[in-house]
């Protein structure tokens, strides 16, 4: 923590070596975050770039109370959401349907996929599902917060998440990760 505080101080002084060090320390993890929200590595790198520019721009607002990684991660998530909203390719995919009947899915399947394969499966979800799944299952936001972040109701968020979850579990268990079969079932 203290090391990070010193790093932040040096970055605020505009020391290039410190800025590079901060980037190198957090960029791989943050690219993983960005990758989960986008459909291509290039988009993920674009988000990463925008995100780190914002990190350095607003670094003076980091209150040093919380963990630096969490603060940067939050900026990355916000940047990714803005990127999705602004990017024409994602806008239509982000439309959410009216909440329908919840799909009761209480399965807790074992995940016999490596991290990369799981990340790829998440990215195969429709953008709306993908976003909500990332926000709820991985970032840990609740549905009220997700609803406010995405401008949808809490119920819509919950419903969309259940559908995303069901779809993902289907891919993992029934089809062994073959998403095409799942889409056909839908």
């Amino acid at each position: 923590m203290t090391e990070h505080h010193q790093l932040v101080k040096d970055c605020l002084k505009g020391i290039p070596a410190a800025q590079r060090k901060l980037y190198q320390e957090f960029a791989p993890q943050m690219l993983g975050v960005c990758y989960r929200y986008t459909k291509s590595l290039q988009d993920a790198e674009d988000v990463l770039q925008d995100g780190f520019v914002r990190v350095f721009k607003f670094l003076d607002q980091y209150n040093k109370q919380g963990e630096l990684g969490a603060w940067i991660r939050r900026i990355m998530v916000n940047t990714a959401l803005n990127y999705l909203k602004r990017n024409q390719r994602y806008q239509h995919d982000l439309l959410f349907e009216k909440p329908e009947l919840h799909i009761a899915s209480q399965d807790d399947p074992e995940i016999h996929l490596n991290t990369k394969e799981l990340a790829e499966l998440i990215r195969q979800l429709p953008t709306g599902y993908q976003t909500i799944f990332n926000l709820y299952a991985i970032e840990g936001f609740n549905h009220v917060e997700i609803g406010q972040m995405l401008g949808i109701s809490e119920n819509t968020s919950r419903s969309q998440y259940m559908r995303a979850r069901h779809l993902l579990i289907s891919w993992i268990t029934n089809t062994g990760g073959n998403k095409n079969t799942v889409y056909a079932r839908k």
Binding site: E97, L118, A137, G147
Partner: protein, 461 residues
Amino acid sequence: MQENEFEKRVRKQMDGFSLVPNEAVWKQVEARIGEEKKRRTLLFWFFGALLLVGGITCWMIESRDNVTTDVSIAKSKPATIISNKAAQQINDTNKTVESISALTKRRVHDNKNLNLNKQTYTTIKTGVRSSVNNEPRSSKETERVLASNTAVATSSLKPSKISSVVNNESKETALHKYYKSTEQLKADSLQRTLEISKKTTLIDTSKAASKVAVIKHHEHKWKLGLTAFCGVSGNTNGIDLISAKSVQADAFYSFSSSPAASAAVPVVIPKLTYKRSASYGFGIFGQKEMGRRIAISFGINYHYFSSKSTIGNRFDSSQSLYDTALQKQTTVKSFYKVGQSSSFNNKYKVIQLPVNLSYRLNKNASKPLLFSLGLSPSFLIASKALYVNRYQGIYYEEKQQFKNFLLFGQSGLLFTALDSKKYQLSLGPVVQYDFNSMSKWQTQTNQHLTFIGIKSNITFK
């Protein structure tokens, strides 16, 4: 929903997920950081240079004005210079004339002796003759000598260099009768000119000096004044200064809950539009002349801005909202839906500290036409304005959407309507523009306050 094992497993697995970014990403980040830094540095130096250039310009103008004042003083007392020259000439003339007079006296004395010798010689030669008989001859001889002296005097002196001293001396000799008739008149004339010029000089110089002193005293004296202004104000998104059409919540798209996926149409969050509304303000200022045409003023103003927004129905129900943009929990007692059914008057109260440079466009200093340009560091002391919660699609009052510090730029013209001994009343059009957006960056919107109106100043002398 109760979190089960699946979410935990996914989260655990994804927490360790990382990818090595392309090296080009860092280079681009570095370049953009550099650009940002350059932009800030450039802005800093721009304002620094602006101040420096402004200061140097004021200093140069002031210096030039001082030179101009000296010249004007000189122009106002040409008689002094002339009289000084004339006095010098007179002195020279006096010396010359004195020497001539001495020479003349000596030669007259010699002539008398000569006449006396001639008389003695005649007496011896022709017998005793009355000394009275010698008078004409003596007189002729004397005239001849004096004529010679006159020639010497006139050849060595310019007529204009003859002073009144000559006049006094000439009274004693016949030579000076000649002078009296020609050159002495000129000398008298010159003397009179000198005296007149001396008198005139005294009057003019003293008047000019006192006038300059008064002017300079007024120029460098701080003058206090009152200001009041009224007009219309509005919000712009930073592009259109005049129309005040307004700010929208950027190009954010709503995630509509459309009835069916097939009928899903992207819904843009309705713009929160702002129409111009009344604005007024008042304050005090101190003004100091920096030169003949430039003045600087400092002041403090209270400025009330307002703008009208068209909105939907009001709902008086308390709601607790988490605003992800501002990242804060808000409890609102009432909120407005999107619509066209009602109007809301947004109010902003600002304390401004204006610094203005004014330049006199016309030559008439008593009724100046001033062009003013300046900056106003300002503080938003109160606001009652709507905030767009783009995630909820509702409007409500939110004080924390704004920054406290604003930087206004202002410009205007001031005509002098009334100029009395005690005060000067001037009025004219004025515009103000808020350079830095009043919205916090988190809101991702731009709101720049504008003001167009009439300003009136009363400056006490």
